[in-house]
C-alpha cells in the first residue's frame, strides 16, 4: 500500500495521473508534463514534495556533528536561515544521500532528504549520533507538508496567496530561509528557476495549495520535475549517483569542502586518495531520437555511460548527463548507442538551462 501525502485529494481533484514513487503515491502529471515544464520556465508551477523528509537536529553538538556527517561544511552557514546543498557519504566515499541543510541556530539545523532514502538516512544518522555520543536530538518531521513553488513569477504569486508573507520574505536572498507564522519559506528549488520551497503543518497544506492555484500557480508532477532538474544540471539520487559512486565522479566536486584539514568528515580519505576518476558532462543529441539513462557513449578518450536522459522541452532536443573519461572536454563530438543505433551528440558544460535561458 503506497503512502499518501496530505495533498493526495487535491491531486486527484486536479486530474492527476498518480504513480508509485519510492513507496509514495505521487502525481506524475496533470495532463501534459511538457506544458507543466513550460509553466515553470515561463510563469510559475508548484510541486508537492511532501514525500521528502525534513529531519530536525537540535542540541549543543549539532554543528560539530554535522561537520563530520556531511561532506560540505556547515561552518559556512554563518547567518541564521542560510541553506547549503551537501552530500552525506559512507566511509568508502560513496553517496548515502544528497540533501539540503538549513541552519536556524548554532544548536538547531534541519535536513531535507530524499523520499526513497529517508528511512536509511534516519537510521544512518541516529547510529552516528549514538556512536559519537553526541548531544543531538534527531526528530523526523512527518507532521510537515512541503510545496515547491518555482518559476520567474513564483515568489510574486506566493505573496499573493499568503497574506503578509511578502514583508517577511521579499528580502530573502537565494539559498536562505525564514520562518513566517508556522511556515518555513526557503528560496531554494530543483528546477533552475527562482522560487520558494514552503514547509508547513500538514493540515494547512490543502488550503495553501488551493490559494496558490487561485493565484495562478500551475500544479506540476514528477514528470516535469525530472525534465526541469535535468535541464538545470541537477543530480537525481539513485540515478546520477548512489552508494557506489564517488561524488567527484558525479559532478558534485563543488559540494565537497576539503578546506579545513582538521575536519574529518565521513568518506574524506578515499576521496582524497582517489581523486576524480570520471567526469560528468551534459550531452545534446544532434541526431533524431531521445537519450535515456544507461546508454553507452563512445568518445575519443574511451567509453562512458549516460546516467539520466530525456527530451528537453526548452531546447526541443534530447539531452543527457554522461559519466565520461576525465580527458573528455565540453564541445567534443561523441556517439551514443540508442538501442543499437549510433547517434551523434555533443558534450556541453552543465547546466543546459538556467533562469529560462538556454546556455548550450
Amino acid at each position: 500500500m503506497s503512502k499518501q501525502t496530505p495533498l493526495h485529494r487535491a491531486h486527484i481533484d486536479a486530474g492527476a495521473r498518480m504513480v508509485d514513487f519510492a513507496g509514495w503515491e505521487m502525481p506524475v502529471n496533470y495532463g501534459s508534463q511538457i506544458e507543466e515544464h513550460h509553466a515553470v520556465r515561463r510563469q510559475a508551477g508548484m510541486f508537492d514534495v511532501s514525500h521528502m523528509l525534513a529531519l530536525d537536529l537540535r542540541g549543543a553538538d549539532a554543528k560539530k556533528f554535522l561537520r563530520t556527517l556531511l561532506a560540505n561544511d556547515v561552518a559556512k552557514l554563518a547567518t541564521p536561515g542560510k541553506a547549503l546543498y551537501a552530500c552525506m557519504l559512507n566511509p568508502a566515499g560513496g553517496v548515502v544521500d544528497d540533501l539540503i541543510v538549513y541552519h536556524f541556530a548554532e544548536d538547531r539545523f534541519r535536513l531535507v532528504v530524499n523520499a526513497g532514502t529517508a528511512d536509511k538516512d534516519l537510521a544512518w544518522i541516529q547510529e552516528r549520533i549514538d556512536r559519537d555520543a553526541a548531544d543531538v536530538d534527531l526528530a523526523p518531521r512527518r507532521d510537515l507538508a512541503m510545496i515547491a513553488v518555482q518559476g520567474p513569477q513564483a515568489r510574486q504569486r506566493c505573496w499573493q496567496a499568503i497574506a503578509g508573507s511578502q514583508a517577511a520574505s521579499d528580502g530573502l536572498a537565494p539559498f536562505h530561509a525564514t520562518e513566517f507564522d508556522d511556515l518555513l519559506i526557503a528560496r531554494t528549488g530543483y528546477t533552475g528557476e527562482d522560487g520558494f520551497e514552503l514547509a508547513l503543518p500538514s493540515a494547512r497544506a490543502p488550503g495553501l495549495w488551493r490559494a496558490l492555484m487561485q493565484a495562478g500557480v500551475v500544479p506540476c508532477g514528477l514528470g516535469a520535475r525530472d525534465t526541469l532538474r535535468l535541464e538545470a544540471g541537477m543530480n537525481l539520487y539513485g540515478q546520477d549517483m548512489d552508494e557506489d559512486t564517488s561524488p567527484l565522479d558525479a559532478g558534485l566536486g563543488w559540494t565537497i569542502d576539503f578546506k579545513d584539514e582538521g575536519r574529518h568528515f565521513v568518506g574524506r580519505e578515499p576521496l582524497e586518495n582517489n581523486g576524480a576518476r570520471r567526469r560528468m558532462l551534459g550531452l545534446v543529441l544532434e541526431d533524431k531520437g531521445v537519450l535515456r539513462a544507461h546508454m553507452k557513449v563512445t568518445t575519443e578518450h574511451g567509453e562512458g555511460l549516460t546516467t539520466s536522459g530525456s527530451f528537453s522541452p526548452t531546447l526541443q532536443k534530447a539531452i543527457a548527463f554522461a559519466r565520461l573519461p576525465l580527458a573528455v572536454a565540453p564541445g567534443e563530438q561523441v556517439q551514443v548507442d540508442i538501442r543499437g543505433r549510433p547517434a551523434e551528440a555533443r558534450t556541453v558544460k552543465l547546466p543546459f538551462v538556467r533562469k529560462g535561458q538556454c546556455l548550450v
Binding site: 495521473r17 506524475v28 502529471n29 501534459s32 508534463q33 511538457i34 514528470g223 525534465t227 533524431k288 531520437g289 531521445v290 535515456r292 530525456s310 527530451f311 522541452p313 534530447a318 538501442r339
Partner: protein, 128 residues
C-alpha cells in the same frame, strides 16, 4: 476515461487497426496507450516495402517518459507511413485515432477478424 471506437479492431499491445476499402490496414495506437505514454516527442516508423510478421516490433514511439515499441498486428508488407505524424508527434496525444502510424497490406486479409473487437479491448484495458 479513454475512448475505444466500435468500428476498429485492436491488439493487446494497444494498436488500433482499420480495414480500408482496398484491403490494406491502417494502424495507430489507442487513446489508452497515448494517455499512458504521456507527451509524445519522437516517432520512428517503418519504411514502405518492408515485410513484417505479426508481433514484430516495427516502430518506436518515444514519449518524454520512455521509449515504446509498436508491433505489427498481422503478417504482411508495409505500404506507407505517416510523415505528418513524424513531423508533429504530439498530434497523437491530441487524437490517437485520427493520427495513424503506418499502413500494412496483410498476407491474409481474413486474419484481421481474429483481432480484438472494441468490447474485448475495453475488457482488456479494464483488467490493467
Amino acid at each position: 476515461m479513454s475512448t475505444v471506437p466500435a468500428d476498429l479492431k485492436y491488439t493487446k499491445s494497444h494498436e488500433w487497426i482499420r480495414t480500408e476499402a482496398d484491403g490494406t490496414l491502417t494502424i495507430g495506437i489507442t487513446d489508452h496507450a497515448q494517455e499512458a505514454l504521456g507527451d509524445i516527442v519522437f516517432l520512428e516508423l517503418p519504411e514502405a516495402g518492408r515485410s513484417v510478421t505479426a508481433g514484430e516490433a516495427v516502430a518506436v514511439i518515444e514519449s518524454v517518459k520512455a521509449a515504446s515499441d509498436i508491433y505489427a498486428p498481422l503478417d504482411g508488407e508495409i505500404v506507407d507511413s505517416n510523415a505528418a505524424a513524424v513531423d508533429a508527434p504530439e498530434t497523437i496525444n491530441t487524437d490517437a485515432y485520427a493520427n495513424w502510424l503506418f499502413k500494412l497490406r496483410p498476407a491474409d486479409g481474413a486474419a484481421v477478424e481474429a483481432l480484438l473487437d472494441s468490447t474485448a479491448y475495453e475488457a482488456e484495458i479494464a483488467k490493467a
